[in-house]
């Protein structure tokens, strides 16, 4: 027992200082891109593995896997920044250039309903495990989402929100619908990662091509997978944490 106490002393206090200070991100981190539509080349459009760049040179962050291939072939039209506030309440705020997602206000009903306690049930529906793993990280002491009143619960019956990852594989569709129906209403749905928002790389696979074709979505969190800081910032905005 004494050993465990000593170990605790040696390992130290490790919970990060976000959100009071900005998150520490690696210098090669690819966040929200800066896009100049008129300068986006055809090559950039055609090299995109997920067809995220439209004819008029705008990027759909719901599809983007942040691989940076477009910026490499077209640096004058696209540049990835370290802006990590990517979570959006509407489709409009997923398009760049367009509405900046952090300018949107969250659903006021949610704050009223949940107060300072927000319970999430996660369902993986055809994901590759990366989204699940980096969401799980928020439960470690490095991020400790319990501080914000957010808790991951085992049953959908205890949940305020469903966090769905993956493109919704055909084989998971029924289980996802059942999980949603088991939640007390009103309930909220968060689509985490490119697959859940748009089907991502698996739009043309044996999937539903994203959560929206199955359930109504209240928040979209882009990324492949979303960095824990991206997910946490989005959740805090969703619950209007102050």
């Amino acid at each position: 027992m004494l050993k465990a106490f000593m170990a605790r002393l040696r390992q130290g206090y490790r919970t990060g200082t976000f959100p009071s200070t900005p998150p520490v991100l690696p210098d090669r981190f690819a966040g929200r891109p800066e896009v100049f539509p008129e300068k986006v080349s055809d090559e950039a459009r055609s090299i995109c593995p997920v067809e995220a760049i439209s004819e008029n040179g705008r990027i759909d962050l719901g599809r983007c896997i942040f691989c940076g291939k477009c910026a490499k072939v077209c640096p004058e039209g696209i540049r990835f920044t370290d802006e990590y506030r990517l979570g959006a309440f509407s489709h409009d705020a997923l398009t760049v250039p367009g509405v900046e997602p952090w300018q949107e206000s969250s659903n006021p009903e949610l704050r009223k309903l949940c107060g300072k306690s927000f319970k999430i049930r996660q369902v993986s529906a055809g994901g590759c495990a990366a989204c699940e793993l980096d969401f799980n990280v928020l439960n470690t002491l490095a991020w400790d989402i319990g501080r914000f009143g957010i808790q991951v619960v085992a049953s959908p019956r205890h949940a305020d929100a469903l966090l769905v990852t993956g493109p919704v594989s055909d084989n998971m569709r029924l289980a996802l619908e059942k999980s949603y129906n088991a939640m007390p209403k009103p309930s909220f749905v968060i689509a985490g990662g490119a697959c859940a928002i748009s089907g991502g790389l698996y739009r043309e696979g044996t999937t539903a091509g994203g959560v929206e074709s199955v359930l109504p979505v209240d928040m979209y969190v882009p990324g492949c997978p979303p960095h824990p800081a991206v997910m946490l910032e989005a959740l805090l905005r969703l619950i209007a944490y102050r």
């Binding site: 050993k3 465990a4 170990a7 605790r8 040696r10 390992q11 490790r14 690696p26 210098d27 090669r28 981190f29 690819a30 090299i47 995109c48 593995p49 997920v50 896997i65 942040f66 691989c67 940076g68 291939k69 996660q122 369902v123 993986s124 529906a125 055809g126 994901g127 590759c128 495990a129 990366a130 989204c131 699940e132 793993l133 980096d134 969401f135 799980n136 990280v137 439960n139 470690t140 002491l141 490095a142 991951v152 085992a154 049953s155 959908p156 993956g166 493109p167 594989s169 055909d170 084989n171 998971m172 289980a175 790389l201 698996y202 696979g205 044996t206 999937t207 492949c224 997978p225 960095h227």
Partner: protein
């Protein structure tokens, strides 16, 4: 085994160069070889060559440090290999489910990627059945588990998968494009570095591209960082499952440190979008290298401290020891690979047996095996972590000079097949690419280590307390998406 073609790992051959054997010879050779100490099955699948369909078998021949491959025209029905060589059982179920081929004599040709509602059941007044999933209590992937129990004791566990199936192999067919690597990387998202290295090797073999030593060193560093991060997470999770919270908490944080080192190299914590045909996209410049070494120097002792604390705790050891045992005989006969195989005393590690890339020059020390219980699987991870950390440190200190990218100029060789086997953190990952007459991708095959190992978990649970399922499961920590594809 002489009738099978000898191949180097990460190489390509023309489809016409593969020997086509009479089915009886093909079958007998496979039965005689698999289960032998130095031979194991890596892939077993139908291959389309012009208008004919053949069965293709790929074996790892550890004694001769090579791959072995041959084809055979089996027809749609053929006598199953499983009764004599159980390592084929999962492959044959796949053949039946996906290609309508019938290996008759197989004990149960149940689909592996679709829940068909048909489960093995036990009968009797005291029997109770426990069904779990596909949606599990934690933040993990979906799968269905059926336990047949009497009281607390599990007599049988049936694992029913397929919920993550999204058609990866099918989506890979067609032109080689900017989608190809991301699809390979996301086959199992926690194994991206190993998958991207293997997939890039396939393209390099099919185009005759030689990559620089520096690039192959960076790839190896990323694969080993991936191993360390995942093993750290697994050991922390094992601690959590026996309620030893200090190590669980420490490891949760420390795993993140290693993911952040990967992100330091390429911007993505899972190592995505970095390894590509021709080399790697990002260099580790001297400044970055220094920073990484410093980071390692700080975190490695913290990890060792956190893990030693757990392995020094009698209450933890009591729960791990003799729990969920898979004997070496069982492990060999069902074809376990990777950490689980090594923990059951099988000597196998592709980094030593079929080294490719930088592993031809150097490889982390092999971890000593064990007797197949949860403790062995934990200890193999522990030893692999520190062997890998030493390797990462040495490699970073000795990065070769030069560029990290060689342009891939040639088109894919036509009518060919390329093989890449990589020791990913869970075990051997086999990737195969077949090209057509136009040099497009006609077929891709991914055999994740979990494909071989899921049945091992079912075996580990036999005669075990159902309450030990979580630690048995964590000690394997297999991939659902890598299996389901």
């Amino acid at each position: 085994m002489k009738n099978f073609l000898e191949l180097k790992n990460c190489s390509a051959v023309k489809l016409n160069d593969l020997p086509v054997l009479p089915f009886a010879d093909f079958r007998q050779t496979l039965i005689d070889s698999v289960g032998n100490e130095n031979l194991r099955i890596a892939a077993f699948f139908p291959l389309q060559k012009s208008s004919d369909r053949y069965l293709c078998a790929v074996l790892v021949d550890a004694a001769h440090r090579c791959l072995r491959c041959a084809l055979s025209g089996s027809g749609d029905k053929f006598p199953s290999l499983t009764p004599e060589a159980p390592a084929f059982h999962w492959f044959e179920r796949e053949l039946f489910e996906r290609y309508n081929m019938e290996p008759y004599g197989h004990p149960w040709l149940k689909p592996i990627r679709k829940a068909d509602g048909d489960y093995f059941t036990m009968e009797g007044d005291a029997v109770n059945e426990v069904a779990v999933g596909p949606v599990h209590a934690g933040v993990i992937e979906p799968g269905h588990f059926r336990f047949q129990c009497m009281g607390e004791k599990v007599y049988s566990l049936e694992i029913s998968l397929g919920y993550q199936s999204r058609g990866v192999e099918k989506l890979l067919e067609g032109k080689f494009s900017s989608k190809t690597l991301p699809l390979f990387e996301s086959a199992a998202g926690d194994t991206a570095a190993a998958a991207a290295t293997g997939a890039s090797s396939l393209i390099e073999a099919l185009t005759g591209t030689q990559i620089s030593q520096r690039a192959s060193q960076i790839r190896a560093v990323m694969i080993e960082l991936e191993r360390v991060a995942n093993h750290t997470g697994d050991l922390g999770a094992l601690a959590g499952d026996v309620a030893y919270l200090p190590t669980a908490s420490f490891c949760g944080r420390i795993r993140g440190e290693y993911l952040n080192m990967t992100a330091e190299i390429c911007g993505n914590r899972f190592g995505r979008n970095c390894i590509m045909p021709g080399g790697v996209r990002y260099d580790i410049e001297p400044e970055r290298c220094k920073k990484l070494l410093k980071h390692l120097e700080r975190v490695n002792p913290e990890l060792k401290h956190a893990l030693d604390l757990m392995f020094d705790s009698p209450t933890v050891l009591d729960r791990f020891e003799n729990t969920g045992s898979v004997s070496p005989e069982t492990a060999r006969s069902i074809g376990l690979v990777g950490t689980a195989g090594r923990a059951s005393g099988l000597k196998m590690d592709l980094r030593h047996e079929l080294p490719a890339g930088f592993y031809e020059t150097a490889a982390p020390k092999q971890a000593p095996g064990g007797n197949g219980d949860v403790l062995s699987r934990a200890k193999v991870r522990y030893n692999e972590i520190f062997a890998s950390l030493e390797f990462i440190g040495t490699t970073l200190q000795n990065l070769a000079e030069g560029s990290v990218y060689t342009p891939v100029s040639a088109p894919l060789q036509t009518d060919s097949i390329a093989f890449a086997l990589t020791e990913a953190w869970r075990g051997e990952l086999c990737q195969i690419m077949v090209t057509d007459a136009q040099g497009d991708i006609a077929q891709c095959r991914i055999v994740d280590p979990s494909f071989h190992n899921w049945f091992g978990l079912a075996m580990a649970l036999r005669n075990e307390e159902i309450s030990n399922f979580p630690i048995c499961n964590k000690s394997f920590n297999l991939s659902y998406c890598g299996h389901d594809l």
